[in-house]
C-alpha cells in the first residue's frame, strides 16, 4: 500500500452555513455601539473601549440588596478549573467559554443549555497559568474563541457546530490562546478578528493578527518585538521597530517574548486597536541590556494594515516579569481623548490615546520598590538595588543576588479587567498588595520549555489582606476608596449608571459596592471562587446580572506563600444569573 499523508489544511474547502432564523446576525455596528445598547453584550468589555460601564439603572443602591438568583448552570464534567470568562448575550442566548477550551450556549430565560462544544485537546498542551479561557467574540452567525492548543474555532451560534478552525501556531512550542478575540471594523477588509498569542514564559514572540471573520483567513500579522517582519495580504509588510538591534543585544530579539496574551481593546473614535505586550524573555534582565521594545508595552495598531501607530513602554528592560499586557481603556476627560491602563508594575498610567503621549502615572498599590516614580518623560526612575542581581556577578556564577521587590510578578494588577464609570468619573481597579523574593539564574532557550532564568516566591505585604478594589480618579491619581479582601483579587469589575460596582472574590462572594464610597450593599456566596468578569443587560424589561464562578487561574499555581492561604478554596464551575424579584423591582 502506498502511504498517504493527510494534511490539516483548510484551503479550498467550501463550507455551507445554515441560516439562523431565530437569531439576528450580529453586525459590526452592534459591536462598535455595544456600550450604548443595553439589551445585549456582544463584546468583551461591554463595548470595544472596555469601560465595563452599563447605563442600566433598574438595579440601584436602594434595591441591590434584594438581588436573587434567577438561575444557575453547572459547567459539568470533571474539568472544574479556573473560569475567567466574560459571558456574551444576544437575542436571549448567553455564550460562555470555560476551562479546557469548552463553550456553551444557554437560554437566558431558563438557564438550560442549548449546546456545548468541547474542543479535543492534545495531551501535551502547555498553558502557563491554568487551563482557562477569557471569553468569546460574536459576529454574524458565529461565535469565535481561542483554545489551549493555539487554535481559533468559529462555531455556528445556533448549533454549536464548527464553521472554521485555524491554527494560530504550534502548541508544542508553547503557544496557546486564552483571551477573548476582538472584532473591529476596517474599510479595506471588512470586519477583522484581532487576536494575539499566549506563551510568554516559553520564549515565543508576541504578535497581533487580523483575520477575516467569515473564514479565519489571515490578513495581516504584526510582531511586537523589534526586528521581526510583519505581513499584509500574504506578503512581508514592514518590520517592527526601526532597526534590528536598536534596543536588544545579539540574537535575543529572536526569542524576545512580548506575548500578546490578553488580547486588546478598540477605540472607534481613533480607529485604533490597543494591544499589550508581555515580558521579554528570558526574565534575567542582565542578559539583554537595552529597552527591549516592544516588550512590556502598549501598542496602538491600525487595523487597516497592522501598522503600529504608537507605542508606550511601561517597564523598559523589565527584570520583574511586569508584562505590559493589561487592558487599555479609552475615556474622555478635560476635552481630551485619553486612555488609562493599570500595569503589573503598580503604576496607573494615563495616555493621550491619539498619539500615545504620556500624561501622568500614579501608584495604585501601597508600596512600590522597583521604581521611585514615573518621570515626566514617562520613563520609570529605577531603584537600581531592587533589580534582581546578575548571576555572573554571584559567587558561584549560578545565582544572582536575591531582592525583595514589590509588586510581585503577578502584579499590582494582573489580567482582571478594571471598569470606568462615566457617572463617577472613577476607575475601579482590582489590585493586589504583594511582593516577591526574586533572583536570576543562567538560562538557554529550548523550544517548548519554560524560558525564565529566574526563581521567585511571592509573599503578602499585609497580614490581613492582599486583594484591594480601588477607586481611582484618573485626573489626580487620588485613591478615593478601597475595599480590602483577604485573598488576591483575580476577577473583573463592572460598574453601572446607578452607582454600583460589581465584582467577585476568590472566597466566592459576588458583591455590589456603592461606587461613590465603596460601601458593600450586596454579597452572595456562589460556592466557588470567582475569577471571571460580570456583565449586566436588560432582558424583556428586567435588568439581569451574570457572573461565572469557578476558582483557579495563576494564583494557586504560582502564588508561593499565598497559594497556601487559598488552598482551602474549592474548584467549581457555575454560571449565576441574578435579577430583582418583580414585586421589588416595581417598588
Amino acid at each position: 500500500m502506498k502511504g498517504l499523508k493527510w494534511l490539516a489544511t483548510a484551503s479550498a474547502f467550501a463550507l455551507t452555513v445554515c441560516a439562523v432564523p431565530a437569531l439576528a446576525d450580529v453586525k459590526i455596528e452592534d459591536i462598535v455601539n455595544d456600550a450604548a445598547t443595553t439589551n445585549d453584550v456582544v463584546s468583551n468589555g461591554l463595548g470595544p473601549q472596555g469601560q465595563r460601564y452599563s447605563t442600566l439603572e433598574a438595579i440601584n443602591k436602594d434595591n441591590v440588596a434584594n438581588l436573587v438568583p434567577a438561575w444557575a448552570m453547572s459547567l459539568g464534567g470533571e474539568k472544574m478549573r479556573g473560569q475567567e470568562t466574560q459571558p456574551l448575550v444576544r437575542d436571549g442566548v448567553m455564550y460562555i467559554t470555560g476551562s479546557y477550551s469548552r463553550m456553551w450556549a444557554i437560554d437566558v430565560k431558563t438557564g438550560h443549555e442549548i449546546w456545548q462544544y468541547d474542543h479535543r485537546l492534545p495531551e501535551g498542551i502547555l498553558p502557563c497559568c491554568d487551563v482557562i479561557n477569557r471569553g468569546a467574540a460574536i459576529y454574524g452567525d458565529k461565535v469565535i474563541f481561542g483554545t489551549l492548543d493555539a487554535k481559533l474555532v468559529a462555531l455556528n451560534a445556533k448549533t454549536g457546530k464548527v464553521v472554521w478552525t485555524k491554527e494560530i501556531d504550534d502548541f508544542k512550542a508553547g503557544y496557546s490562546y486564552t483571551a477573548a478575540p476582538l472584532i473591529v471594523p476596517t474599510k479595506a477588509h471588512g470586519p477583522l478578528l484581532l487576536t494575539g498569542v499566549s506563551g510568554g514564559e516559553f520564549g515565543v514572540v508576541g504578535r497581533v493578527e487580523g483575520r477575516k471573520v467569515d473564514t479565519g483567513e489571515l490578513v495581516w500579522s504584526r510582531p511586537t518585538i523589534e526586528g521581526h517582519m510583519g505581513t499584509l495580504n500574504g506578503k512581508p509588510s514592514t518590520m517592527t521597530g526601526d532597526k534590528v538591534n536598536a534596543t536588544w543585544p545579539g540574537d535575543l530579539w529572536k526569542t524576545g517574548g512580548g506575548a500578546t496574551w490578553l488580547g486588546g481593546t478598540y477605540d472607534p473614535d481613533t480607529g485604533l486597536a490597543f494591544f499589550g505586550a508581555g515580558n521579554p524573555g528570558p526574565w534575567n534582565s542582565h542578559m539583554r541590556p537595552g529597552d527591549n521594545k516592544w516588550s512590556c508595552a502598549r501598542i496602538a495598531i491600525d487595523p487597516e494594515d497592522g501598522s503600529i501607530k504608537w507605542g508606550y513602554q511601561t517597564t523598559p528592560n523589565d527584570g520583574w516579569d511586569f508584562d505590559g499586557v493589561n487592558e487599555v481603556v479609552s475615556f474622555d476627560a478635560d476635552g481630551k481623548k485619553l486612555a488609562a491602563t493599570a500595569d503589573r508594575n503598580g503604576f496607573f498610567y494615563v495616555l493621550d490615546r491619539t498619539n500615545g503621549a504620556f500624561q501622568a502615572a500614579y501608584p495604585f498599590v501601597s508600596k512600590i520598590t522597583w521604581a521611585k516614580e514615573i518621570g515626566k518623560d514617562g520613563r520609570p526612575v529605577y531603584v537600581d538595588d531592587n533589580r534582581p542581581g546578575d548571576p555572573k556577578a554571584g559567587k558561584d556564577g549560578k545565582k544572582g543576588a536575591t531582592v525583595f521587590a514589590v509588586p510581585s510578578f503577578l502584579g499590582g494588577k494582573n489580567w482582571m479587567p478594571m471598569a470606568y464609570s462615566q457617572q463617577t468619573k472613577l476607575f475601579y481597579v482590582p489590585s493586589n498588595e504583594w511582593g516577591m523574593d526574586i533572583w536570576n539564574e543562567p538560562v538557554a532557550y529550548k523550544k517548548g520549555a519554560a524560558y525564565l532564568g529566574a526563581g521567585f516566591t511571592i509573599k503578602p505585604i499585609f497580614d490581613d489582606h492582599i486583594g484591594s478594589l480601588k477607586a481611582i480618579d484618573p485626573l489626580t491619581g487620588k485613591i478615593v476608596w478601597e475595599a480590602k479582601n483577604k485573598a488576591p483579587l483575580w476577577g473583573g469589575v463592572l460598574t453601572t449608571a446607578s452607582g454600583l460596582v460589581f465584582y467577585g472574590t476568590p472566597e466566592g462572594e459576588f458583591k455590589a459596592l456603592d461606587a461613590t464610597n465603596g460601601k458593600e450593599l450586596f454579597s452572595f456566596n456562589t460556592g466557588s471562587g470567582i475569577v471571571g468578569s460580570p456583565i449586566t443587560w436588560e432582558q424583556d424589561g428586567e435588568q439581569m446580572v451574570s457572573i461565572v464562578s469557578g476558582w483557579g487561574g495563576a494564583v494557586p499555581l504560582w502564588g508561593g506563600e499565598v497559594a497556601k492561604t487559598v488552598a482551602n478554596l474549592n474548584q467549581g464551575g457555575m454560571v449565576w444569573t441574578f435579577k430583582l424579584p418583580k414585586k421589588m423591582a416595581a417598588n
Binding site: F13, R102, E123, G124
Partner: protein, 276 residues
Amino acid sequence: MIKFAIRFTTAAALLTAMAAGAHAGPVSDPLNSPVWNDLAKKTFGDAEIVFDDRVKVIVPDVVENQAQVPVSADARALPNVERLVVLTDLNPIQHVLTLTPVAAKADAFVSFRLKVEQGTPVRAAALTSDGVWHVGGVFLEAAGGGCSSPAMARGDSDWTTTVGNAQGKLWRNADGTARLRLRVRHPMDTGLAKDNTPAFFIEKLDVKGAGGEPLATIELFEPVSEDPTLTLSVKPQATDASVSVDGRDNNGNIYRSVVPASWNQSALAAPRAATR
C-alpha cells in the same frame, strides 16, 4: 400506535405476515429489537419502510475486539439506491454512518469497523428512488464496552502528529468499478469514555474523481472505530489517474488524501509507487 406502512417483498416474509394476521400496523421486527419502532421513527420519520433480504449486513460470528468489529453493508442487489444508512439499535449512539452515492457514481456498499457497546442488531437501510427504505440486518453477538473505552490514541503521548495520516489503495474490478480502501488515523472519540475526553470524530468524507467530480459522500458518527478503515465501490472516469477523499472532523480540522489508480498512471511518472 406508531404508523408505519410496512410492505414485505419476499415470499417468506409475506407468509410470516399472513400468519400473523396480515392486518395493517407495525409488523414485528425480524430481529425482535426493543427499540426498533422508536429508532425507525427517529431515523425515517413517516417514510415507507420494508424489511428486505436484498439488503445484507455481514458481521463476524465471533467478535474478537468490540472496538473494531468489521461490518459490511451491501444493498447492491437493489436498483437505484440513493442513500445507505447503518444503524445499531442498542449502541448508545445508534446512527453509525450514511453513504450517499452521487449520480450513481458509487455502489450501495460500504465496509468499515464498528464499536459495539453491547450485543445489538446491526442494520443497513437503503433508500431507493421511489422513496422507500429497504431494511436488512443481523444480530451481532458481542461482549460490551466498545463505545465507552478510551481510544488507543489516549495512550499515545501525541496523537496530533499522526492524526489524518492515511493509507489507501484502488483496485480495478472486472465490471469497471473501482474498489477503494482507505484507512485514516483519527481517535474517533465517542465522548462517552470515563476519561472525560470529548467527542472527536471525522464527520464527513467526500470522495471525488480526479477531475473533482463527486462520487460519494459519507457521514460518519462516533461508533465508527478509531482510525476508520473504509471500503467503497466507486465509479470514477475510466481515465482517472486517482480518486481523492476530503475529510472534516467535528473540530473543523480538514484532511485531504489522493489515492492513485495505479493502472492509469504512467510507469515513468510514478515508477516507485508500484513497488511499495
